[in-house]
């Protein structure tokens, strides 16, 4: 049984560590805003002055992109994947296997720390300003806010499990070059991070519906702008939890295989 006290320490340390790398925070925020600007312009052009498209108002669509970009910032602030891959590759991960804690859980809690730091010091202030000065659709009731935060958090966990599993999986494939690009492209497309699922052609929407990626961006975004509302919220969060459980077991499986390989092969 993991003792959460131990993991909490990693959260604290990662939070403090982020403070040391402030430049990192600013450069990350910079590129985040550039992408926001880019996608904002693209969608403005696509709407071409129309008030609404596909039943979604321009204002709601813009809000969707802004929230999505905010969550992209949140999801990207943890330990970079290559750092863990590198540790597995060099066998350094073995040194962590020797400690009395669960390694994936330790990285997750460390991510909580660095992500919190990034949200508090960079994302929240900037996006708050955006919301104050621009005309976006803000949820008006507390239930939507709470559901959004819950959905975003579950989405974060889903992404963590998927990305970590993938990162560890690449350890078994000899050369991953191309696969990695395809994976990230698929994740960004099918999660609805830049194009909401309702604009997908039917066949693609069907594929997306049967995959866990929608839980990362699409569901929280859509809850935020009120596209998913009422009883549908519970249903969507239920779906997220379903995928989270599956992705968790996937991660466990891959992790056990990877660490097994390390202890048998010596990394």
């Amino acid at each position: 049984m993991p003792k959460f006290h131990v993991y909490w320490i990693f959260t604290k340390k990662a939070f403090l560590r982020s403070a040391v790398y402030r430049f990192d925070v600013w450069s990350r925020l910079g590129s985040n805003l550039i992408f926001l600007l880019m996608w904002g312009s693209i969608w403005t052009a696509l709407y071409a002055g129309r008030e609404e498209a596909g039943g979604i108002s321009f204002q709601a669509m813009l809000t969707y992109i802004v929230v999505s970009q905010f969550l992209t910032g949140v999801n990207g602030a943890g330990t970079p994947l290559w750092e863990i891959q590198e540790k597995v590759r060099t066998g350094d991960i073995a040194l962590e296997l020797m400690r009395p804690f669960n390694v994936p859980l330790r990285y997750l809690f460390a991510d909580f720390g660095s992500v919190t730091f990034y949200i508090v010091t960079a994302l929240l202030p900037i996006y708050a300003i955006l919301f104050i000065f621009m005309d976006f659709t803000l949820p008006t009731d507390i239930i939507t806010w709470v559901s959004f935060i819950a959905a975003a958090f579950i989405g974060f966990l889903i992404r963590y499990c998927i990305e970590m599993s993938f990162g560890l999986l690449s350890f078994f494939l000899v050369e991953t070059g191309g696969i990695e690009d395809i994976f990230y492209f698929a994740m960004s497309l099918l999660s609805g991070s830049v194009i909401p699922l309702w604009f997908f052609p039917e066949w693609l929407a069907k594929i997306a519906a049967y995959l866990p990626f929608q839980g990362i961006y699409y569901i929280p975004n859509a809850i935020f702008i009120g596209e998913i509302a009422g009883g549908e919220i519970l249903l969507s969060i239920g779906l997220q939890i379903f995928w989270l459980i599956i992705c968790y077991f996937l991660l466990r499986l891959v992790w056990n295989r990877a660490s097994h390989k390390v202890v048998v092969q010596g990394g």
Binding site: F10, K13, D92, A94, L95, M98, P100, G266
Partner: protein, 335 residues
Amino acid sequence: MPIIEVENVRKDFMIAKRETGMMGALKSLIKREYMRKEAVKDISFSINEGEIVGYIGPNGAGKSTTIKMLTGILVPSSGNVLVNGLVPYENRQENAKSIGVVFGQRSQLWWDLPTIESFELLKEIYQVSNQCYKKNMDTFTEILGLDEFLNTPVRQLSLGQRMRADIAASLLHDPPILFLDEPTIGLDVVAKEKMRTFIKEINHERKITVILTTHDMEDIEKLCERMILIDHGMKVYDGEIAMIKERFGKIRTLIVDLEESLHSLQLLGGEVCKEEGNRYWIKFNRDEVSASELIAQITKTHSVKDLTVEEPAIESIISRIYQEGYKDLQVSAKV
């Protein structure tokens, strides 16, 4: 009661053969060929509580592989390992609490944290009580001089500082067993000496069992009474260092400086093995002739300016074993 038991342990690594060229790459996609590398072939030993044992052997002998199996981060291909009553690789996290480990080649501290924060992190991970933490930190700071770099990030530490930090970190949770894989590698003479003093002291005061690998025979000579010598994954010697000296150390060297240089120096029971100007190195077997007999022979005909008798260092014994093999040496030592 042995605290560490290793029984007929073997470790093979399967190394994937790298095929060259396009065809090779395609072939390896379908079927990869593996090469078996026997890192440890068949090793058994047991170590009692409170011992310091030197685990030595030439490069690639299988020392680090053995240590890794004892820590649980490598699974033996066959055989049994028992550390403090546990099978390490089956109880990695439990085993972690009763061992301290230092790999001289790579630090286990958090790279970008100030050293003190690594210690604090370890305190939490191993759930060391405040009182115990303070006691240990005070002791380690005093002996190892940690205070000079506690606030420096680990990546900025010098090798010697890093090694001191690493060994202190490995002992924070009061483990009864300590594994040291080349703890003096790359250290200067003074730092080595400090490290040895520290190891000796914690072994003495806390009765910690220590296994130590090193290429510096002075470490062995100063720290260990027992040594296990391995080569090509096999144990070739396991016993007291005094014994090995006794057995192989019969050949001594007498070094004399004469007033005049000679054409040749003929001695009964001794053999000149090297000369340089007026200085002669004379090898002799202590069982056949005593040093004083040799000296008497020389002074009869020559005037001697200076002389010394060299005991064989364990260093030279070991290097002979590496070169000639233990068995051969055993035979030659008898005659």
